[in-house]
């Protein structure tokens, strides 16, 4: 064994031994994530949104965006986050093509509005783990579409400020209420 590889093995061994102490990070009493809630509250999934329903949602969103003269991308997905309907208004920025789809997908797969991630992330360090979760987008504009208390899909809107996006997104989701 050469000197160099012997040193490498020694260094790896030292790291492995140190791993025991890494596992012993004590919980912070101020960390709200340490609490274990008794109940699991969630909105159940329903049947996948139909094309007719998706168009109704998108049309309501498009009508509101047109009225306000905001250039948006509007995406409607099923409960799994897969694309059912999409529309890009004439002067909408290109980045929004994928952002709108991402917001819709995240709202559907996590069963909650994307503003939840945005607001929690803004609360500080204890929520900085959120963007490490799969496929999260921590920006408002994604909202579940709920019919009869069940999530049948989600709408995602992008193109303006987050607050503008969310107004249009909620206008779309409201068409199914």
């Amino acid at each position: 064994m050469s000197l160099k590889s012997a040193l490498t093995v020694a260094a790896a061994g030292a790291l492995f031994a140190a791993g025991v102490t890494f596992a012993q990070v004590p919980p912070d009493p101020n960390n709200p994530n340490e609490a274990v809630p008794e109940k699991h509250t969630y909105t159940p999934y329903g049947e996948t949104i139909t094309l007719a329903q998706a168009k109704k949602v998108a049309d309501a969103a498009l009508a509101d965006a047109t009225k306000r003269e905001w250039q948006m991308c509007i995406a409607v997905v099923g409960p799994t986050g897969d694309l059912i309907y999409f529309e890009k208004m004439d002067q909408c920025q290109f980045a929004s093509v994928s952002i709108a789809q991402h917001k819709a997908r995240t709202a559907a797969r996590y069963r909650r509005p994307t503003v939840v991630f945005e607001r929690l992330l803004g609360k500080g360090a204890f929520f900085s783990y959120l963007p490490t979760l799969d496929d999260v987008i921590a920006s408002r504009g994604g909202n579940p579409i709920i019919v009869g208390g069940k999530i049948i899909g989600a709408i995602g809107v992008s193109g303006g400020t987050g607050s503008q996006d969310d107004v249009i997104s909620q206008a779309g989701a409201a068409a199914m209420k």
Binding site: L51, I84, Y85, E87, K88, D90
Partner: protein, 135 residues
Amino acid sequence: MNSKPCLTLEDCRKIGAAAMAEARKNKWSVVIAVLDDGGHLRWLEAMDGTTPFNSQVAVEKGRSAAVSRRTTKSWEDRIAAGRNALLNMPVLPIQGGVPIMTGGECVGAVGVSGVQSHEDEQIANAGIAALGLKS
């Protein structure tokens, strides 16, 4: 500076409605995607009974046709004729993606997925025909 025509959302909806009518007439359930000349999605509709797979494939066929200014059938045919190296190109070489040409310019593409490939292309062509463009 040159200028070139560009699809409006109204154009995309017109293409989509005509393509949808062709699919309905034949009782086919498909996903129809309309993209701009850079392969960016402009409009998409997934009919009831389609799969997530169809949505991805329709967009990918459309993107391939838009950026290459060729039908995806032409890619498929050249590979079928033995030009295997084309499998390495960044396109989906399956019939059903058609570029939208006007005055020699490509302004976008339509991608369809859900039925047999030649039927997908038939739907795409029916959609583009609704614009009444002279290629």
